[in-house]
Amino acid sequence: MKLADGLFLESCQEVTTKYPSIKYNEIIGDNCCMKLVSKPEQFDVMVTPNLYGNLVANTAAGIAGGTGVLPGGNVGAEHAVFEQGDSAGNVGKDKIMEQKKANPVALLFSSALMLRHLQFPSFADRLESAVKSVILEGKSRTKDLGGDSTTQEVVDAAIANLD
């Protein structure tokens, strides 16, 4: 799609000139997905148009652990709204709601992103390391991470880990 995606690339190239210290390269969507599944560590920050972004974000999320753990945010000129990274497959599961077994990790990380956006990096760091150590320990994990805990148990463990 030479004109449409071409315009997107032109715009990116214009901005890149203002940040000479940051490396910039371009990659075609299908090639990108292929590389993501074989060697995701080669990517750092990826900027995409709308549809490809949806696909790439969900692919990357699947590789990294799923929608239950990944944070996200929506940023505008005047406002910002933070939510879990992707909603694929994790919205409206009545059974999980009833049993109170939803995974709160994604939203906790998203709130850490919000704290960073508000320029409270130390609070964000504390929150993130607490949640990360809970996951690392492996004792309090919800079903999508292979455990059997409830939401409350995960949150309690995170609070206990706050320093």
């Binding site: 449409a4 997905c33 599944v37 490809y52 692919t59 590789i63 992707d86 694929a88």
Partner: protein
């Protein structure tokens, strides 16, 4: 000769033969099978291509000869001048050859630079009316990737969708791109998908889309699937299961039909879900059918799951039963002529060609030999982490036949 024609006719119209209109579909196929002992050689067009193309094409010829597959290869090369009849470097004779033989194998072709001609792939696609790109993706035993349990087939609509080439600048800085979905093209690829699933014993066909957002275009693509689901139900093909996610209008119809077949699971798959599920658990999928853009991305993603384009077979299906199998990797000019190239992709594509011709026994023999050779690990080309030459690898496959 007559049997050869019979097989060709059945090959291209087998979807109709398999339908309820033919009173004895089984007998027609057994007649074809009885005559399919290969005494008459099959004519096939071969485009060795550029770079490593000729070397890997040699491998295919060697393996086929060893396996007793009688194919008369008509070799064609990309010309050095633009043929005005085709507006590309592919000559009219090359295209006529494929149209006549109805079967072809294509190696990697380097894209010639310059203007005033169509790209090679575009020429082939338009002139031969190649409407479906089929890629069987299965994990190769012995070649470890992060995913061990991949066994799926991607079928991508290859003529329209987002790649219709209709873009225009509205004003400076604003571009519009048209996505075209037609009932005819959707029906054609969907019919092929169900036919393929039935012919190869697959159990599920999933239609991938974003009809919740693109309600009219993807919605039409899905409506076609509902139509076919009903059609195949009438044939009592209970193994046909489309996993469909409809735009809001068709959701109700889909659930109603699904209710009549409680033994079949009902699933809804949107493109973003599909991506996520593919990288978390590719075993969830069987046959995927997609419009052009999603198909482009998903089929490359699936190739990445099993080890990359160097190992992925691909086959393009055209109107009138034409099948053009191809290796989708590049021509690798840096290793051309050095006997280092990996012929796996072209070999596996040639196997899909044999399956299209319904020579399943030969196809299985050759495929098993290839998989065994890779699994053993003794002979592997450089890209798979080994140090064998192309000829050694080919010989190892022949030995395994």
């Amino acid at each position: 000769m007559a049997t050869h024609l019979l097989r060709r006719v059945l090959g291209s119209r087998s979807s109709q033969i398999l339908s309820a209109t033919n009173p004895n579909p089984n007998s027609a196929l057994t007649v074809a099978r009885a005559y399919s002992v290969d005494t008459t050689p099959i004519r096939a067009t071969l485009f060795p291509g550029d770079g490593i193309g000729p070397e890997i094409a040699e491998s295919v010829k060697k393996v086929f000869t060893e396996a007793d597959v009688h194919i008369d290869w008509e070799e064609h090369y990309v010309g050095t001048e633009v043929d005005p009849r085709t507006q590309s470097f592919l000559t009219w004779e090359s295209l006529e050859s494929v149209r006549r033989n109805k079967i072809g194998l294509k190696g990697p072709m380097a894209t010639p630079i310059g203007k005033g001609h169509r790209s090679l792939n575009l020429t082939l696609r338009k002139e031969l009316n190649l409407y479906a790109n089929v890629r069987p993706c299965y994990s190769l035993p012995g070649y470890k990737t992060r995913y061990d349990n991949v066994d799926l087939v991607t079928i991508r609509e290859n003529t329209e969708g987002e790649y219709s080439g209709l873009e225009h600048q509205v004003v400076r800085g604003v571009v519009e791109s048209l996505k075209i979905i037609t009932r005819q093209a959707s029906l054609r690829v969907a019919e092929y998908a169900f036919h393929y699933a039935k012919a190869h014993g697959r159990e599920r066909v999933s239609a991938i889309h974003k009809a919740n957002i693109m309600q009219k275009t993807d919605g039409l693509f899905l409506k076609v699937f509902l139509f076919l689901m009903i059609k195949y139900r009438l044939l009592d093909c209970k193994s046909m299961l489309p996993c469909i996610n409809f735009g809001l209008v068709y959701l109700q119809c889909c659930r109603e039909v699904a209710e009549k077949y409680p033994e079949i699971k009902y699933e809804e798959v949107v493109i973003d879900n599909c991506c996520m599920m593919l990288v978390k658990n590719p075993a969830l999928f069987d046959v995927l059918v997609m419009p052009n853009l999603y198909g482009d991305i998903i089929s490359d993603l699936c190739a990445g799951l099993i080890g990359g384009l160097g190992l992925t077979p691909s086959c393009n299906i055209g109107e009138g039963g034409i099948a053009l199998a191809e290796a989708v990797h590049g021509s690798a000019p840096d290793i051309a002529g050095k006997n280092m190239a990996n012929p796996t992709a072209l070999l596996l594509s040639a196997v899909t060609m044999l399956r299209h011709l319904e020579l399943h026994d030969k196809a299985d023999r050759i495929q098993d030999a290839i998989l065994k050779t890779i699994a053993e690990g003794k002979y592997r080309t450089a890209d798979l982490g080994g140090s064998s030459t192309t000829t050694d690898f080919t010989k190892a496959i022949c030995d395994h036949l």
